[in-house]
Symmetry: C2
DNA sequence: GAGTGGTCTAGACCACCCC
DNA sequence: GGGTGGTCTAGACCACTCT
């Protein structure tokens, strides 16, 4: 393995990070499985262990991979990961060690409209699945979700399958369709509850709600989900750390 | 420098990170200044350059310090840092390369009330300065801020001083009072504009607004500011990246 | 004990900045 | 040319996990 020379210098560990990412995209190692040891990878790519280490460190910083001392390095998984809360930034104000439970309230297949077509990078005429979902903390509605998924990527998704599944949506999408969410971009606005959402969320019409728009990405920064969540915030908040 | 032995093992680079942080708290190097080179620090602490490097990497990841190849490592500063936007997550929906401008609309000194006392970790009877401020993009109001600062830490702060200053609040606090904000925790809710805020933000009463509560921390995770911002979100959004 | 990731070292060399 | 951070290497040893 030789290093590119300047201009446009690219460090070795960065090139190896890219190679590892390509292997992940190709499905060489599935979520939850371990990747080869640092020593093996060093031999494979003909670099030192330290260089492989730095590449893996970068993947671990991106939450694409998880290191466990004494055991190995594992492909991050939504399935076994107990952290259902990894992408969920809504939390109860009083910490009631309560797990959120979600309930299916609607499922359709439709042609991608303006925003979903644009945000999911779809060509005209493409179809998307739309999932409507109610998230509850301790039987109290908190978030009304509208989840848009390109049907080309999630072939065979249907209502029965969704109802059967317990646990997090991303865990479900990962295990059934082999698509893992890596990161997401969110834009938040304040809106008023309309008649329909007020009824489902069990709040008066006109209640102020958070409107959280999310685009979620897989390996290689491919957008694969667009989601809009309406959140009641009398006893929940969107929490964030900024630095 | 010897390493602690297990149990409760603490790596050398971590201990050095703590020592460096203590020097920052003590003011050995001020914001904007460079810290000693890696080689110098390695000699001072009697460790290898690689170990110092790892400690500095950790500080850089926390945005406490900024590395500049060929020049040195510098204490992060709000003053010269052009990124006024580092802690501001509100952005216009259409990218109008427009810089936000803030306008002072009120200044008082009062006894710390329930939330400010609790959130700022103050003892009963402590006093706080309260700054009311209007943030505008292109002359249009976007955010109404209410900033609470413990007066013990910001002695001599007054209205004239505030009016005189141009630029970011944190830059001002850093240069005048030697207090640098490192990170912040935010909790966001949706609320309705009351009469007073509606007037200042030039929106109808009852308009849905984001209510962003922020606690900001200096070195050593000391809370030193509590802020509540009310944000109009018809053409702005709170943007966030989650992973 | 064997295998994994984690720490620490010492040294060579490269890219970048400024004089 | 000299100083700074950045990359890469090779090797020793430590902490953790499983068998």
């Amino acid at each position: 393995m030789t290093i590119l020379t300047s201009p446009s210098f690219r460090p070795l560990y960065d090139q190896i990070k890219i190679l590892l990412t390509q292997s992940l995209i190709a499905g060489e190692w599935r979520p939850g499985e371990s990747i080869p040891s640092e020593i093996e990878l060093a031999q494979r790519y003909k670099v030192s262990q330290g260089t492989v280490r730095k590449a893996i460190d970068a993947l671990a910083a991106d939450n694409i991979v998880v290191r466990r001392q004494g055991k190995g390095t594992f492909v991050a998984s939504h399935a076994q990961e107990r952290s259902t809360t990894r992408f969920l930034r809504i939390a109860p104000d009083q910490d009631t060690h309560e797990y959120p439970v979600s309930e299916l309230v609607g499922f359709e297949r439709e042609r991608a409209s303006g925003p979903s077509q644009r945000l999911l990078d779809l060509r005209g005429g493409a179809s998307v699945y739309v999932i409507h979902r109610l998230l509850k903390f301790h039987h109290t509605p908190a978030v009304l979700d509208e989840i848009h998924l390109p049907s080309a990527l999630f072939k065979g998704l249907d209502e029965a399958l969704l109802r059967k599944h317990k646990g997090s949506m991303y865990g479900f999408l990962e295990s059934h369709f082999g698509i893992t969410m890596i990161r997401a971009e969110e834009r938040i606005k304040a809106v008023l509850a309309d008649h329909h959402s007020a009824q489902l969320l069990k709040v008066p019409e006109g209640t102020p709600l958070l409107c959280v728009d999310r685009i979620a990405f897989t390996y290689g920064d491919r957008p694969v989900e667009w989601r809009r969540g309406l959140c009641v915030t009398n006893s929940y908040s969107y929490v964030n750390e900024v630095s």
